[in-house]
Symmetry: D2
Subunit: 460 residues, 4 copies
Amino acid sequence: MDELREECGVFGIWSPEKKHLAHVCAAGLTALQHRGQEAAGIAINEDRNIRYHKGPGLVSEVFPAPVLNELGEGQIGVGHVRYATTGGGSALNAQPMVVRHVKGQLALCHNGNLTNSTPLRRELELKGCIFQTTSDTEVISYIITQKRLQTPSIEKALEAAMGEIKGAYSLVLTSPTKLMACRDPLGMRPLVYGTTSDGSVVFASETCALDAVGASFVRDVKPGEIVVIDADGIRSIETHCGKAQPKLCVFEYIYFSRPDSVIEGVCVHDARVRAGHFLAESHPANADIVIGVPDSGLDAALGFAEKSGIPYGIGLIKNKYIGRTFIAPEQSLRESLVQQKMGAVPSVLKGKSVVLVDDSIVRGTTSARIVAMIRKAGAKEVHMRISSPTFLNPCYYGTDVDSTENLIAVHHSIDEICKMIGADSLGFLSVEDARRLAGSNPDNFCAACFDGKYPVAKED
Amino acid sequence: MDELREECGVFGIWSPEKKHLAHVCAAGLTALQHRGQEAAGIAINEDRNIRYHKGPGLVSEVFPAPVLNELGEGQIGVGHVRYATTGGGSALNAQPMVVRHVKGQLALCHNGNLTNSTPLRRELELKGCIFQTTSDTEVISYIITQKRLQTPSIEKALEAAMGEIKGAYSLVLTSPTKLMACRDPLGMRPLVYGTTSDGSVVFASETCALDAVGASFVRDVKPGEIVVIDADGIRSIETHCGKAQPKLCVFEYIYFSRPDSVIEGVCVHDARVRAGHFLAESHPANADIVIGVPDSGLDAALGFAEKSGIPYGIGLIKNKYIGRTFIAPEQSLRESLVQQKMGAVPSVLKGKSVVLVDDSIVRGTTSARIVAMIRKAGAKEVHMRISSPTFLNPCYYGTDVDSTENLIAVHHSIDEICKMIGADSLGFLSVEDARRLAGSNPDNFCAACFDGKYPVAKED
Amino acid sequence: MDELREECGVFGIWSPEKKHLAHVCAAGLTALQHRGQEAAGIAINEDRNIRYHKGPGLVSEVFPAPVLNELGEGQIGVGHVRYATTGGGSALNAQPMVVRHVKGQLALCHNGNLTNSTPLRRELELKGCIFQTTSDTEVISYIITQKRLQTPSIEKALEAAMGEIKGAYSLVLTSPTKLMACRDPLGMRPLVYGTTSDGSVVFASETCALDAVGASFVRDVKPGEIVVIDADGIRSIETHCGKAQPKLCVFEYIYFSRPDSVIEGVCVHDARVRAGHFLAESHPANADIVIGVPDSGLDAALGFAEKSGIPYGIGLIKNKYIGRTFIAPEQSLRESLVQQKMGAVPSVLKGKSVVLVDDSIVRGTTSARIVAMIRKAGAKEVHMRISSPTFLNPCYYGTDVDSTENLIAVHHSIDEICKMIGADSLGFLSVEDARRLAGSNPDNFCAACFDGKYPVAKED
Amino acid sequence: MDELREECGVFGIWSPEKKHLAHVCAAGLTALQHRGQEAAGIAINEDRNIRYHKGPGLVSEVFPAPVLNELGEGQIGVGHVRYATTGGGSALNAQPMVVRHVKGQLALCHNGNLTNSTPLRRELELKGCIFQTTSDTEVISYIITQKRLQTPSIEKALEAAMGEIKGAYSLVLTSPTKLMACRDPLGMRPLVYGTTSDGSVVFASETCALDAVGASFVRDVKPGEIVVIDADGIRSIETHCGKAQPKLCVFEYIYFSRPDSVIEGVCVHDARVRAGHFLAESHPANADIVIGVPDSGLDAALGFAEKSGIPYGIGLIKNKYIGRTFIAPEQSLRESLVQQKMGAVPSVLKGKSVVLVDDSIVRGTTSARIVAMIRKAGAKEVHMRISSPTFLNPCYYGTDVDSTENLIAVHHSIDEICKMIGADSLGFLSVEDARRLAGSNPDNFCAACFDGKYPVAKED
């Protein structure tokens, strides 16, 4: 599946002593690279002075060693990876957003989408504010800055700002002297923190980034919580906690997060295996082998195999060097070049009835191509199983679901989709099962893209 | 395993009509990219005139669309991917090597290493030949060119040249009017050919490249065979065939080739699964789960699980965006940044006795790091199983095995290695089992890097 | 002389029909490239929608043809070249600054420096404004935007803003429907406008940019004037005109502007020739030949030769391909590599008493090197004449004079400087003569860097 | 004039001790950059081991500091700048050409063109030689290498090779232990040598490169001479000297060489001034001012002014930042963007009768554009004077004169050309005067491009 995109990953570190934290941020962001591949940025706070660098590309491209070294030592570092839409000003939308205000500098990293950024923006413009980007993060910067004028500290300003902004946000910020992290009251996007043996505190979108920098997981930041760390130690502000039912994005388990990450106590891999279990029960198949579409369908395929008793196989090989696919000018050549991203293992598929597990169907074109490849390799039946429900609605909280007109499930029944992708049978995870993936309260999740139940309304 | 390197992948296509074959070559080479990532090149033959482009980097980097378009239409295309050693002249060692001689141009792509290039080179130098590269391919170009002066055709010249050059070589060449491919008499490196529905003929190091360009597999080029295709059709020259026992490099099955490729009738994936079977029999373990090191240990892990009855699990997640690892200036930070390439899935490993399957151990440092990561994730025992024998000898045929001084098995017993990598037990595939991976005659393989039995002597 | 830097050049064009104005802007900015080489930017206004691109480097580097094409058609284009100080955020200081406010978008290009930006910035911060750059232009954007809330049109807002901002500014702006240009009430930086045969209106820092885009010069924008052009035609707002004595930066004639530009009715070349005349009168020399340091000393050298009757010669050849000078690691080699930027013509200098004319001395090191080169080529005497007075004071209006500690004339008498640079005699233009370069009222110029008479006070 | 191109500049240095000579080579080559801007290369010989780097672009682009540092220390360095024709293999034609032969390595740098490379190439091919480039230098490499087999030393081999190769060549070479330089028996291309205070010996195409690296000029290498320097000192081989009348390319004085260079005892600037004198005598004009087209017309303009008594003026300003000209998609805009490369100084030209001096007319389009610009600036008459004769013939010795079909003088009379470029009068230097530019024997020069008298026949 390659049509869905998460908007961001955030990272932050506070060290008791000055160090070359840019290298640590780069390692942490690379572990979060699956959450956004189009821009990256790091800001280093050295003695109240914030230096930063950001640009389009992968972390490894934006941050060659000399750039990291030039960012120098500091006590606080924050970083961001982003999927940026194309167009003129996109590079300027890269984060961290670093601003100067009356109390000094502020660097913000944001994962999520506000639902009331349009009215907030309008209100700010009417006060004479100017906007240099089209990102929500600039709105948040203004709100915090204006609250700071009426509050005694930056964390109080953040607390007050959280009373105004609505929607999904996991933020990591550095003020001149403090590293802060907060999560929206519904906890729609994940955010964790950990510590290292030398006393550093680390915030990250996922635990895999803690692992990558050698930090030990402490706990998830709570929905609505602000965590602050400075020379006086670490402390929590819970004013906005516990006032609403949590609504973690269920797609974090299904697709966004890395399988080795643990969110709210549940390992992503386990949730995906459980999706396979559910599918094996709800949509069983009489087949010889279970194959996952690499990489995101593998865990659910293993779960399907476990529960169904059908052997698990490795039947598709992803080309890990695909930078782009090559498209010949001639139509005849183009048609022959369809199989560049993946190859089918003929010995595994030949003459078999195959259960093929993938994580989602958006437009259906990719699925059709893979089913055709499996058949060409000799499979006699292909039973497609999808470890998510059908996409029917737009997301207002930061997931770049394709536009509704492109969503195949909006326009076609499951039977029709089955025919369109050329499968012998097709089964999707039910929304109820999706809500049960983590094994906790099914109401604790947002599944609006599947069921249209939006926990926060979009304001225009 | 990241210390072993294959030197090359080769690709060639002949089309009955002029087309933009550079795009096809690029797609084919990308499917062979795992065989060499440091340089790439494509030559297009249009009406006896050969245009080419080559340079350092991945196929997708060396060949942006405008470069492919500029190569233009042609009836023949050849291409190459290479692992080039660092240093001044490395870019010049990129292939295809394109030369002009008395009969026109010649573009050569070579996978393998000659064993008598030193004496051949010396002999040529004594005739006044100059060398602009350090590659064997330049030697081959001279030999063919000089034979061409005494023979009526380029294929006869190639046939004569094959009488002089020794060692491992799979070649794809284009003369002004012909596409040719040949394989050394021992067939040490793989080479296959296929055809497309529009009548094109394709040569490639592996079948996965045929799949990528929509070609159907016809057969392996035979050891010692020359296949020629031009306006008069396709024909085979078998003068050098059948005079020696085949000696395919066994490491093609263990590591080099892509699992979905089929070599000499045997799917690489199947050979690796069989390695797992052998290991389960020769080095059984009392364990809860079998884990493969991604990507090259996964097939053997599945085989071990199948044969042993121990469940197969997904316990290690590779970061697919790792361009390089980030190394902080401070020692304390460096130590914390060890886990960037891979993450362990805690829920799968915690409290488990784990069989960990990888394809090889060269220096042992990577294995030690992975074992430590598995333990940190909570595994109580780690039983390491390696789907190849111990490396003890250098390869003269084109595999860049690490220098002998770095090979851990040269200096240490298996028990010592087991302790050094921190495993509870350690088992390697036996050389006998390695020779049985393909299920065919065990004598048909070269396993010199394991057993020191060199089928062709190195001449200095 | 390479230690002085002007901060900017500005350009704007309004066309009665939509066209690919980015190409025109690029040509105009290249003609202004001498005013700033470190960043360039262009914004195109198409039907109220402003697209832009900016980045570090020369115009030709920042704007390859595909980038220009992608900016597309529009009715208004504005552009900027800049000398940006090094450091983290420098790329963000590139212009045009493009902001969104309550009435739509605004793109600003600014040449000059405000003297009250610090208090204005503080005031804005106290209202909750955030700053993403360190440039004055962001302050101007805010002031205009906030005035816009209380005024019926953007030009009225600009008029009101001009009542608050102080210092040097030549601005070119585009609102959704209008192209505007204005000059500070003292006219410290130049700004002209012209028209083309197809009815376009062009603004530029210098007339050489009008020539480069085929526009005919109409007149200078007056000190304090706002010129507005939109669908209703061109009109002038003169509220801020005539309230203060003009104070054009005299260094525009001496160094900044291109010799073929005409500022306030006087050709820059003529002003420099006149500087040579003044020098020949005030600091005559008994010599055989007059040589100018290329390129900026040539005009004054010609003037000196004309007035003195000593023949003009071409004695120094500038290497036009110098990208950077090469510095060997060894001290002994370094000393030998001093003569890379320029070569002396031995036949012209050998045995001659030479008058050497340059435009300024900042640190003195460059002059010492050139005098030594002239002597090495065989000159028997070197009489240095400088077509500007001694630098003694910092500039607050946008000229990046070296820091006072580096200014040789602050610390040394003219006799001492003469010895330090190794000349036989040394003469500077007097401040009085500098004020007479244009042949107009000597009080109409700012010469603060020479005489310390600041027309507008710097506010901190 | 921008349609003529010299093919190369060569440089070499031998140092008594190992040093970072790459930096010195880069400085020397930058001084020769006017002789070729499309490729550059440097080879460093350290203890018989030659490292090298070459690539497309200016010296400053091909050799960033890290690349120079990586070339390391050595006792010998050679370098080359080149104008390379476009097309697939052009980068491979960059020099130095570094080859390995039976006696070790050889690095060659070549300025000039052989006239018998075609037959020599054919002969070599018939011996089985392969060619990887299309350059003459590869032919020379082979000839020297093959001679080396029959001679006791590399200098004897070079001496023997000079008996076979014909045409124009100034070569700088390094063998494992020796730096050598030689010039063809007619001395068609310049080559000088000098020494430094630390005992180094330097060879270069022009003296300006000696100046740039702090070397003192010793003398021109003689036509036909080989100069060898190694641990045993410097020595000369004069076997091929004095057997033919020298035939230095007269265009070295007119256009190729830098004005501050001295060739065969005559300063290039002086020769150009003399061209101006000759033009003032042969084609006088009744005018108010003499203007040179920068940069290559300035010296002759000064000469014209001196001899005619008409004042010299600076009337054209070259934009030194022109990387490329910008071309708008619309025809109407394109016409307006003609004046990007140069600006006219209106105060100098207005109402004047102008003598305009340029160094050559090839196609005539550039001249027409400049004449039009001068008229637009207000000149009432334009009398064009060209400091070279009319181009009528191709050059076989390394000057890339435009193809005959494009040479305006081949197809049109001088009167016609005068009308075509829009001048009031037009005068070219006579061939006789061109031969007298250096003040020495008129027969000592090749002027074949003007008079068709080829000193060496081209062999096909």
